[in-house]
Symmetry: C3
Subunit: 343 residues, 3 copies
């Protein structure tokens, strides 16, 4: 289930209600009055929760799920475990998105309580903190001792920030737990929705983003950088990471300890970096990849494959840095030779 | 003329005054006391409006314009339609910029009315809206029913936002009309000036940006993304578009319905995308291009040509994706062969 | 020394205290009770100041420094000038960072004086200024005549902005001197810490960024753009520059007059651009380079070498634009030929 410090859940809903909401059909044998209390992944769902199967890669997880109900495409109906209630949809991810949205409504990331009440009475502020003017701190948020929050920064509901933190001006932090000794530079956006939706020919259906963002100790996050919270698992930034300005980190990304990410780089959803990975400026790393400990990526590279621990990559698409330099040299030679004969 | 909900116009000015302001010369036969009330494009200008010709591509539009006056370079004087009053300048775009600035002065994008009056009394707020603390809403702005505006967000003069909108914290929206069911994530900047100026050896002259930004229904705009308003025509984002974090969309860009733009991509001025175009992360698309319906652009690509409907492109410069993969394979093979003989 | 308008200095400290703070050893012959009042570069340091040597490139500067004390690696001990007090560390840059931090503590970039006191009483506001609601202006800041500051913008301690400025909403400006006739668009971040730290296997040590940001007259800075202040020298933006949205400019970068930097480009630390350099969109320029007057860089390029005045470069890695086009043509031909024989 989504972390109740950050998300309010509605429901329960009957299978019949969810079928109607998700524009799906109840498969034969399922009890329309069965009550579901939450959505969850195939692995995590229990008997009173609803899951979904969209990617055939997860068929075996589907066959062994303990979920009480599941949204699936018609073609996978025969793989269902016994006793599960099926909702049949030609667009199961879209149907799941709509249903998840019924459990977890959108909520605006700030206590809308009016200018007279910037700091929620249920928020906890440590000793020796500086809180600038115009700072808003949401319900149940906790700010550690000796932490400063700059002017006009917005701290959402349930957010926790450790000791000796420096959160500069005009920052937004929601759905996020931050360790001690962290610096968040001006204009950074932490914990907002990731880019998650079920694409469709008649429109793209938003999938509620129900994970959070976890940031370790001694992390430095640059100006106007954006780090999305997780979609179901959490986005995680390890201890000691240094992240420069205008970096984008997608949902469910995991950074190990001590990673260095230079300015304007982007890490797409669900990619994992090991410890002490170094990423140059304006690098793009595609989604769902694994980058090993101590790997290095040269500035401007576009990474489309896993990278082994300790390896150095560069170029678009990225290849081992040595090969990239050879490619460049080869190209330069070719046009020199051509030039001689052409002109 | 510029939309009076967003822009205040000064004037009228005599041709003599405008010649002086723009450091241009009045051509023989023109009446220096002729009054002009506005600037406009060659196509749209009427008898009491001033236009300009900078690019020879528009010579035929110049020949048939109904503009009362026009700033042009000396070499095009003989192409002028009858009765038009000419201002002659060696730098007509620069002269136009200065003149347009006389009609439309800079204005800061917030009601500067002091902290006691964050929401202008002429603004309209629908029913069941949440308005966070520190939110500023400008004169004549309209917020639809059930829309929420996050803490410290600034909504400029004349802005309209439809129903069920979610505008998160620390956002800035000016010169912009937004449909219903839209989400604007934290730190997004909508409707500011585009990058428009007349370059010059002694300095670059700003051209007033007199268009607006129009956003359809069911659009999702990511954190810290920037979308500039139009320079004379409008910037337009079609229904159902999904735009990720840290995206830049230039002035006069048009996105059709259901486009998906992944993080850190940039679309340069006056480029048009059709419906359901998919753009990967960190893509750059040059200005004044046409990208057809359903086209796809791979992450990291640099697009410098039009793309036909349904085509897939990748690489820098971008070529059909199949060719890009072949180029990469070819390069990898070449250095392998070289490697064998070199070492 | 760091500019006292922006930085508060602690100290003096004895050599003994600094050795302990920096986990370094005092070399034989040095007086542990010697007092140091500041940190400084090898060139600038005086008899009561401490410097450091990290890069062998600066060995001759070390040999002739007038610094009273210096942190160095053991291997360089024999190159020391007479009379200097040495602190020996295997990680001298890290040790320097910790020591510099003792002199210059972190400070949050806003007057934390509570919502009732947004504009510090020691700030000076010119005549005919507009100051939006929620604007915070720090101690000793100076705003010139006829300058407007948009809603919720934060102006830090000591910042100066000239006449006729337009600083839009939700901007942050710290450690920065801005000339007259400048426009700063919404969400821009000016003067924050650069990406400066001593990397280490057990963690990366932050180096205090003690320079400032100097912006000339008639400069235009785009929405959500970030410009870091200097680390020891200053970051400088020349008169008449035009900088688009979502641009990143690193610490100690120098831009000459009239440079044009299109959207989403990044200039890494300590690189210098001459006058009237034109940089296309999504360009990356590596650190410590020299780009000559009037040079041009095509969109999407990754610049890894110096560029001569007047030259045009493109590609990744960037080469002269003509060569880049030839490389592209050559690659396209090669796969065409391959295609014929392969299929």
């Amino acid at each position: 289930m989504a972390d109740p410090r950050f998300f309010d859940r509605l429901g329960p809903f009957t299978l019949r209600a969810l079928a109607e909401i998700g524009e799906a059909e109840i498969a034969a044998g399922a009890d329309p009055d069965r009550e579901l209390i939450d959505v969850a992944t195939l692995d995590a769902a229990g008997a009173d929760e609803l899951s979904f199967l969209n990617n055939p890669k997860y068929l075996s997880a589907f066959e062994s799920t303990r979920a009480g109900a599941c949204v699936i495409a018609p073609k996978h109906e025969d793989r269902a475990p016994k006793g599960i209630a099926l909702l049949i949809s030609k667009t199961p991810y879209r149907a799941y998105g709509i249903i998840a949205h019924a459990f977890y409504s959108d909520e605006i990331d700030a206590s809308p309580s009016g200018a007279a009440d910037l700091i929620d009475p249920t928020a906890t502020i440590g000793t020796n903190c500086e809180i600038g003017p115009g700072v808003s701190i949401g319900p149940s948020a906790k700010i550690g001792d000796n932490t400063s929050i700059g002017t006009n920064t917005v701290i959402g509901r349930g957010v926790q920030i450790g000791q000796r933190g420096r959160v500069h001006a005009n920052v937004t932090v929601t759905h996020c737990l931050i360790g001690s000794d962290c610096v968040v530079h001006t204009g950074a956006r932490l914990g907002q929705d990731g880019f998650g939706f079920a694409p469709g020919a008649n429109g793209h259906t938003k999938i509620p983003q129900l994970g959070i963002l976890r940031i370790g100790d001694d992390v430095d996050i640059g100006a106007n950088t954006t780090i999305d919270r997780g979609s179901s698992t959490d986005t995680m930034i390890g201890d000691g990471c240094r992240i420069d300005n205008l970096v984008q980190i997608g949902h469910n990304v995991v950074l190990g300890q001590g990673c260095i990410i230079a300015g304007m780089s982007g890490i797409s959803g669900s990619t994992h970096l090991g410890d002490f990975v170094m990423v140059g400026g304006q690098v793009g790393i595609a989604g769902h990849l694994r980058i090993g400990d101590g790997a290095r990526v040269a500035g401007g590279a576009g990474v489309m494959t896993d990278i082994a621990a300790g390896a150095s990559y560069g170029g678009l698409p990225a290849v081992p840095v040595r090969d990239w330099h050879r490619q460049s040299v080869t190209l330069r030679r070719m046009i020199k030779n051509k030039g001689t004969s052409d002109e």
